[in-house]
């Protein structure tokens, strides 16, 4: 059997439905999606929101006692964890309309794992830092809530911009957006929270990325599907 043996005829399609014809009757021009511009809006608005949260909550008290390199490179890592998944979720490859879901979800998984490892292994502390460890681990839940609250803005904005753009693989793209938002939450916690034990930074701070990704994957597709 060759491919030619399988060459079934195409069928004559039906004419357009009356409902569609009626909608075409009142057709208005629409502003089409501009992915790079949308990424810039998500980035700027989310960073402003994160900055506002930090201004309200204050920068960590032990900031002056910690190595500047760790503060800077840690912050940069969280920032990249925010930008890269959001970029891959929002900006399709040139010539395509569909998001790069495979790369986006890979970047989300890498971010989720990398921040657990980073938080677990590298956690300098100063005299003003606090250690909750296993005994008071559960008391650190406020950080998870703050991180998730920070993630809300990029996830909601991203979902608004992606409405109708991802008929397939929407959960993967939503997970990447969630991971990006969670990383922004991690950045805010990196600059705000002075609890430095490895369980807190490795599980709660880094866990924001995973939890935000899972929540976004569960909830965002309902908002972005076209019905």
């Amino acid at each position: 059997m060759t491919d030619d043996d399988l060459a079934l005829p195409d069928f004559a399609p039906p004419p357009m439905a009356k409902e569609l014809e009626a909608e075409l009757g009142s057709l208005e021009p629409v502003a089409t999606r501009r992915p790079v511009r949308q990424l810039a809006i998500v980035g700027i608005v989310s960073l402003l929101y994160g900055g506002l949260l930090l201004a309200v909550l204050s920068i960590r008290r032990d900031a002056g006692e910690l190595p500047v390199e760790w503060l800077v490179f840690g912050g940069l890592a969280w920032f990249l964890g925010f930008v890269v998944p959001c970029y891959l979720a929002l900006v399709p490859a040139p010539g395509s309309m569909l998001s790069r879901r495979r790369l986006a979800v890979t970047s989300a998984i890498v971010a989720a794992i990398a921040f657990v490892v980073m938080g677990w292994l590298v956690h300098p502390h100063g005299p003003s830092s606090e250690q909750y460890n296993a005994e008071r681990f559960i008391q650190g839940h406020w950080c998870l809530e703050l991180g998730l609250a920070t993630a809300l803005v990029p996830v909601i904005l991203g979902a608004m911009f992606l409405r109708g753009a991802m008929p397939v693989g929407s959960r993967w793209i939503a997970a990447a957006l969630g991971a990006g938002g969670g990383s922004l939450g991690g950045l805010v916690l990196h600059l705000h929270c002075r609890i430095t034990d490895p369980m807190h930074t490795g599980i709660i701070h880094a866990g924001v990325v995973t939890v935000a990704a899972l929540l976004a994957a569960a909830l965002v597709p309902r908002a972005t599907d076209v019905r």
Partner: protein, 194 residues
Amino acid sequence: MADPKELMARYCDGEAGAFRELYALVSPKLYGYLVKMTRSKAVADDLLQQTFLKVHRARAAYVRGADPVPWIYSIAHRTFIDDVRKGKRAKVGVGDTDDLPEIAADLHGEPADRKDEPRADPELLAATLDALAELPEQQREAVVLTKLQGKSVAEAAEIAGTTVGAMKVRAHRGYEALRAKLGAPSAKQSREAS
């Protein structure tokens, strides 16, 4: 032939005629895809209209300069999957035969609305469609997209929302299963024979 990118851009600018041209350009192949997936022209009709209605409602998601066809296929794929999941196609019994519409037919008994369809060996067509219908949904879609619709594996993977590797496996397994159902030797057997 008109360029789908240009038609989509003109349609987004408010030109209804461009949408009609896009429909005329894309719907024959897309309808073929849906008929082969659903094995029912009535269901495929409905899914085609739903697909284009969704395209219309989501037209603001278009990225200028991008090819809209894979996106339209993705919407069709998703509409088909949703339809299967809902299982909303309940079997409808006809209670009163007097209500059945009279169907216009030509001298050979062929329905008049099918006159424009291309002719193929009816036995082969029926056998192939039957064999296709017996394939698991994912394999059927992989075969339809890659072998019957002429999409590349990458395009088919993009439409179905899966990876290139998974699409290759589905297409290969589906094709081999189809060959077996149609009584053709498998690719491996053909290689061994030669």
